[in-house]
Amino acid sequence: MTTTRIAETAPTAPPAPHLGAGDRLRLWWSALPRPYQWGIGVPFIALLAALPILRPPILTTQGTDFGGVLAQFGMYALLAIGLNVVVGQAGLLDLGYVGFYAIGAYTVGLLTSPDSPWNQTDTWLSRHWAWVFALPIAIAVTAVSGLILGTPTLRLRGDYLAIVTLGFGEIVRLLADNLQNITGGGRGLSGIAFPLVGQTPTRTKGVFSAGNTHLPLNFGTWWYWVSLALIIVVLLFVGNLERSRVGRAWVAIREDEDAAEIMGVPTFKFKLWAFLIGASIGGLSGVLYAGQVQFVSPPTFNVINSMLFLCAVIVGGQGNKLGVILGAFIIVYLPNFFLGRSDLFGIPIDGNAIADYKYLFFGLALMTLMIFRPQGLFPARQKLLSYGREVYVVARRAALAAAGRLPAADEDGAR
């Protein structure tokens, strides 16, 4: 019985006088003026972008190309950010998110693949820039599909919504599989357009072609840079939304939908917005997929992948848009880290066998995480959405002052 009480009271215990490392970092960061934030953020991003060039010894994957893994991480990071809008911010559990990913990828495929009956690259889309032109179209199509799915289903709640979206994801995949005259069915669509830039005698199809295997600036590196740029744009967009009226409405819906409705939040409208924005970001990631792989086929878009995306969000920490990016990194990177590795720090391992067990480990991780840290590894903290910085500056000053005056740090000081 005693253990039970501890377990129950632990989360609601008063905030400890000395904050955790994560919270300290958060408070410090939030209190920094904007220029300082940029000053630290830009070199950090540059460092991230340089990863595929630096290829740090242990970090670099052995069974597969590091740049390629990072490019895949880029797609998953976008998916995680998008799914986080739906699941983490608005609290709508979506198990069919892969459907939007598929719609984005297939829109580009249908517009630019020579196998498709709707191929436009011979008419008004130039082969060189077809991918870039198809990008906004694909995002629009996915947004509309989000609207189509959301309008009838968003009146459902909780588990029911989860199952309906699961059904939707499967229906999208099955349609791609069954409508053989359009999507090629199981044969998929190949030869999808990608940006033809930087053609040289050694890189005959340009830097973005899968044929560009010249290290370190191979195709993976270039696609990773594209996805990094897109991630930054999307993060700025989502971050601003989060701090706006829309973001506040989402939080209200997530916490208590009935209360939000009574307080005058048009919940249906904002849920639909969340769905639509989430869908568009998923579609964007699908566009990246189509361009990078230059081939789409239905098995890529099965339910298991939907669950993996959800894993990324849950592991990273729902609602924390930077956390979910780390979640995506873990999901993509870890199996690839072990792939083809025969020893780790001198200990002989069978990397392929470990990589084989990835779903087992993901499953175990999800279960343990839900028991011991349901908020994820990098949980979101409730914070003031307006006038945030001013408050943090004051709070930090107060905390520092309190710490300086009272080294033993009693509870009042911290509060």
Binding site: T64, D65, G185, T213, G220, Q294, L339, D356
Partner: protein, 405 residues
């Protein structure tokens, strides 16, 4: 309350332990059971050409032996890579191929003390999305002198250009999509007949030799199944009955509705274009549903698992394959090395790896000379005679028809 938790967890543990125990204790009867189902095996029936006519398999030629003369010398870093699905849902085929390659290399290394060739398996999970990154890794591994793979057509499509640009030999033991050799990749060779050969040959055999008047073509939703079904349907011409042409899904285990449609169509034969995992329950349900028409399928089904799974329902099924029958010696060596029986494409992989090993033994030290060696190669393997035309297709691609007897 707390005390009951371990008790119940204990119950669960005991159950799992029970499952395990059962598995262990029943080892003996299941080993003997291979004897009972061993009554039915896939046996070579006839070798056919594109018109469906019988071709006597050439006698006289002795298959190339990876061991060679035992005097070869090469750098100890020389590596043969294999790319394909080694983990995940599609791993069975990839592992068959990897094992075939490993066996050839092992036999070579045992005989040649001064030429220890390394093997490196690269896992693509059969996923075209992951294959390009793996290809980059292979290409940038300077020790890799030749590649057996990629295994599937989809990933070959996604990576072919990269291997071509790198001039790395890409010798596939299993990718049968006809379009792969039309890209001008002069480093790409196919060690077996493609679907455009297999389809018409088998169709001609069904119509001309077996005399089927009405055939229901059933396909799964894989790249392979769809492509082959198209070739077969064209080849069958008027014998293919469009009204009972059905599609099923990879992973399906219940085919009641398809059985009903086929029953009411009453065909002479059913051609299943797909893999054994679905073909086995399908044929079993056809038989219990009272359909007695001949069951015909291709290399995706030509696997010992098909007979094991379908049991007596598989009796009389005709299975084509661009692969030759595995000789008894090979099978014995394979089972001794890997503790499983060889599967589809193991023999091809072994043959193709042997050819690359011959190139290495012959003094090839870089990628270009290996490609050149293969281009000019002509010789017998365990499965067939290997010689390639300018596009990388086998110059004489014959199909074997097997029957479950």
């Amino acid at each position: 309350m707390r005390s009951s938790t371990p008790r119940l967890a204990g119950v669960a543990l005991v159950t799992i332990a029970g499952l395990v125990l059962v598995g262990c204790s029943s080892k003996a009867p299941s080993a003997s059971s291979t004897g009972t189902s061993g009554a039915l095996t896939i046996q070579p029936l006839v070798q056919i050409d594109k018109a469906g006519k019988e071709v006597k398999s050439q006698a006289g030629g002795t298959a190339a032996n990876p061991a060679g003369d035992g005097k070869a010398t090469c750098a100890s870093t020389t590596t043969i890579a294999m790319a394909g699905a080694l983990t995940g849902a599609n791993a069975a085929l990839g592992i068959n191929i990897a094992n075939g390659v490993k066996l050839a290399i092992k036999q070579h290394n045992d005989a040649n003390k001064d030429c220890q060739v390394q093997f490196k398996g690269f896992d693509t999970e059969g996923d075209p999305a992951k294959a390009p990154a793996v290809a980059t890794q292979i290409i940038n591994d300077a020790n890799v002198i030749g590649l057996i793979g990629p295994a599937f057509s989809g990933e070959t499509k996604a990576t072919g250009a990269a291997f071509h640009d790198a001039g790395l030999l890409s010798l596939t033991a299993s990718a049968t999509n006809p379009a792969l050799t039309t890209n001008g990749w002069n480093n790409f060779f196919r060690g077996l007949a493609n679907d455009a050969v297999q389809g018409p040959s088998v169709a001609a055999y069904m119509v001309n030799t077996a005399g089927f008047k009405k055939v229901c073509v059933v396909k799964d939703d894989s790249d392979y199944g769809v492509g082959l079904a198209q070739q077969i349907t064209t080849g069958l011409g008027s014998a293919a009955d469009a009204s009972c042409a059905l599609s099923v899904k990879t992973g399906d285990k219940d085919f009641s509705s398809a059985v009903q449609s086929i029953k009411s169509a009453a065909p002479d034969a059913i051609f299943y274009s797909g893999y054994y995992a679905e073909a086995a329950p399908f044929v079993a349900q056809l038989r219990t549903g009272g359909v007695t028409a001949t069951f015909v399928s291709a290399d995706g089904t030509n696997d010992p698992q098909f007979v094991k799974q379908a049991g007596s329902a598989s009796k009389g099924a005709l299975l084509s394959c661009p692969c030759g029958p595995a000789p008894a010696d090979f099978e014995k060596a394979y089972e001794a090395a890997f503790n499983v029986s060889s599967g589809v494409y193991s023999v091809e992989a072994y043959d193709l790896a042997t050819i690359v090993l011959k190139a290495i033994d012959g003094g090839a030290k870089d990628r270009a000379s290996v490609v050149n060696f293969v281009k000019g190669y002509s010789g017998d393997g365990l499965a067939r005679h290997y010689q390639w035309d300018s596009t990388g297709e086998l110059s004489s691609a014959l199909i074997w028809i097997y029957q479950v007897k």
